[in-house]
């Protein structure tokens, strides 16, 4: 006979009350686990989307008197004495320390061309890279350019000049077929003619030169700021900028959800703790007679506390495990509903450990006062109730 036998025996005898107590813990812990899983999935989902959609590092030439107008670059001006990159130099980017984090490298050349007497932005791109980067580019019909004599028009350009898919457009005296017209994107490409990089370099007289490079880096855990510095070291003539705005705004949304989750979790945990406290108090009051006997036969106050806290510890472990399992099940079921294209991030063992520890801590904290009250029960008063 040890003190834990008494604790186990009491749990077995008062199954209904103990289940009620475990329920309090399960509600608290499963809510926390569900909300954390949703937050985790949201973060991962957004990170994946950021990886897929668009650049997060932009490399432009350092320039004092010229600004281009794409991605913050102004080419509408009159001066084209831009210090451009050598295309040859671009391969150096693969030598940076975090090169394994580089996903897409999309170089471009920019410059004005004349169409029907008007200056229009010509953007030369590597279509394969560009289309992988700009997944929001949707064509109105036709196909994306595959041949050197094919171009793609931004929606504004097409509308301004009345071009249709299949029409021929003359750029610097050379005819090109319009392979497709983009749907409006609300960005600079709406006003541009997009052609292959090599053709554009020749048309603009910038053979082997690049105006800017957009880079997509894998974002999950990748040190964007550090990578920016590494690239800047390789390209002293370039201004390398991490495009944090998109990330920041999306992360802000997640942070807001995290704060909301935290608030809800605290509230639910407080309610759960209250449930544990009330149940434990009830249990202690019911056991006045028993505690009186324990004290009469020589149990110290500490022994009585140990019995109550041992029960709390055991129930905390059970509640923590059940809360973690149920929380994951709810998350598994609910994530595809609340997050579009969201999939359950999987079971997080660390969260499991934290859940159990949290349930144990809650159960012990909420049982501390009842245990203290039980241990301080006057044995003669308790025995008078016999």
């Amino acid at each position: 006979m040890k003190l834990h036998n008494i604790s186990f025996g009491n749990i077995k005898r008062r199954k209904d009350k103990m289940l009620f107590l475990i329920l309090g813990l399960v509600i608290g812990i499963s809510t926390v686990v569900t909300l954390l899983s949703i937050t985790q999935t949201m973060t991962r989902n957004i990170e994946e989307r950021l990886n897929q959609f668009g650049a997060n590092i932009v490399m432009v030439p350092k320039s004092e008197n010229l600004s281009l107008n794409y991605g913050g670059i102004d080419v509408g001006g009159v001066s084209y004495k831009v210090r451009e990159f050598d295309q040859e130099q671009l391969k150096d980017i693969k030598t940076i320390k975090n090169s394994k984090n580089l996903s897409i490298i999309a170089p471009k050349v920019l410059g004005p061309v004349t169409v029907k007497g008007k200056n229009v932005l010509l953007m030369g791109v590597l279509f394969e890279e560009e289309l992988a980067l700009k997944t929001w580019w949707h064509k109105t019909g036709g196909a994306f350019p595959e041949k050197e004599n094919e171009v793609m028009l931004g929606s504004q350009v097409a509308s301004l000049f009345g071009f249709k898919i299949g029409d021929t457009i003359t750029l610097s005296g050379k005819p090109f077929q319009i392979a497709t017209i983009l749907n409006p994107t609300g960005a600079s490409e709406d006003d541009a003619i997009i052609a292959s990089l090599g053709v554009s370099q020749r048309l603009l007289g910038k053979q082997g030169k690049l105006s800017m490079v957009e880079i997509s880096a894998f974002c999950q855990g990748c040190p964007i700021s550090e990578m920016t510095l590494q690239i800047a070291e390789k390209f002293p003539n370039a201004k390398v900028t991490a495009m944090k705005q998109a990330v920041m705004s999306k992360m802000q949304s997640i942070d807001m959800f995290k704060s909301f989750s935290l608030g809800v979790s605290i509230l639910v945990i407080l309610i759960g703790s209250l449930l544990v406290l009330v149940t434990m108090m009830g249990s202690v009051n019911e056991r006045t007679r028993e505690i009186g006997i324990f004290r009469a036969i020589g149990f110290r106050r500490g022994h009585v506390m140990q019995i109550i806290l041992l029960e709390a510890l055991l129930l905390g472990i059970i509640g923590g495990i059940m809360g973690f399992v149920i929380g994951n099940l709810i998350a598994y079921g609910i994530i595809p509903i609340v997050i579009k294209d969201g999939a359950f991030a999987g079971i997080n063992a660390n969260l499991g450990i934290v859940s159990i520890l949290m349930a144990v801590a809650l159960s012990l904290l909420a049982s501390l006062y009842p245990a203290f009250k039980a241990s301080n029960m006057d044995p003669s008063e308790a025995l008078r109730a016999l």
């Binding site: 077995k12 004290r295 110290r300 106050r301 022994h303």
Partner: protein, 226 residues
């Protein structure tokens, strides 16, 4: 002249219960002693103060005034925890209505007082089974209290009281809930324990108990008369 040391000495004992403005003198004045290996029957009517006296002797209830010495140890000069240790070592309680823990088996109930002792599991089992045999319940060691008769439950209570081999056994109305035949069996059991060297103090209003005791003390209106 040599001073005689009694096992229990009670000097100028007073106990007053206060409930709001009302105060009740449960024990007005008591002075007596009990020697080692005595079988004392403390007789008195309900409300005479006998149960209060028992709880004070059992280090459970602080007196308002006076001293109680057990083995020359002033009980109420000890701390709460020291008194708990004292109860564990010196006192075996037999409560009115058995007061067994319903979710523990006979064996576990009997082992309960040993839960806070440093004995090994094997020794605890051995000691508990020994006393269970002694009270005649060897075959029912693994039953729960509600599977036993009243007399058998009282025997379990006796076994629990003696398992730690305490020198003093305090029994509060041990025959109160039993028929006369079972009551006689229990009193004979207590008598045999007394013969084995335990000092037995029984609080009761049952006059028959006197016949088993070596001495009786009458308690009336908070005072005692030897």
């Amino acid at each position: 002249m040599t001073q005689i040391n009694h096992l229990i000495e009670i000097h100028g004992l007073k106990k007053k219960y206060q409930s709001g403005d009302i105060s009740v003198d449960a024990i007005k004045q008591m002075d007596f002693f009990i020697d080692d290996e005595e079988f004392i029957a403390i007789m008195g009517q309900s409300g005479s103060g006998k149960s209060t006296l028992l709880s004070i002797m059992g280090a459970l209830n602080h007196p308002t005034q006076g001293k109680i010495l057990v083995d020359s140890l002033d009980l109420y000069s000890l701390s709460t925890e020291q008194r708990a240790d004292f109860r564990s070592e010196y006192i075996g309680f037999i409560f009115q209505s058995f007061q067994l823990i319903p979710y523990l088996t006979v064996l576990e109930n009997v082992k309960l007082p040993m839960a806070v002792t440093g004995r090994t599991k094997k020794i605890k089992n051995q000691m508990a089974l020994e006393v269970i045999d002694r009270v005649g319940l060897g075959a029912k060691a693994h039953r729960l209290p509600d599977q036993l008769s009243g007399g058998e439950q009282e025997r379990v209570a006796v076994a629990r009281a003696i398992v730690n081999k305490p020198p003093i056994i305090l029994a509060d109305e041990p025959t109160g809930n039993l028929d006369s035949k079972t009551a006689e069996e229990i009193m004979l059991l207590l008598q045999s324990l007394n013969k084995d060297g335990h000092t037995v103090i029984v609080v009761t209003h049952n006059q028959d108990v006197k016949t088993y005791a070596t001495r009786s003390i009458k308690v009336q209106d908070g005072e005692c008369f030897a």
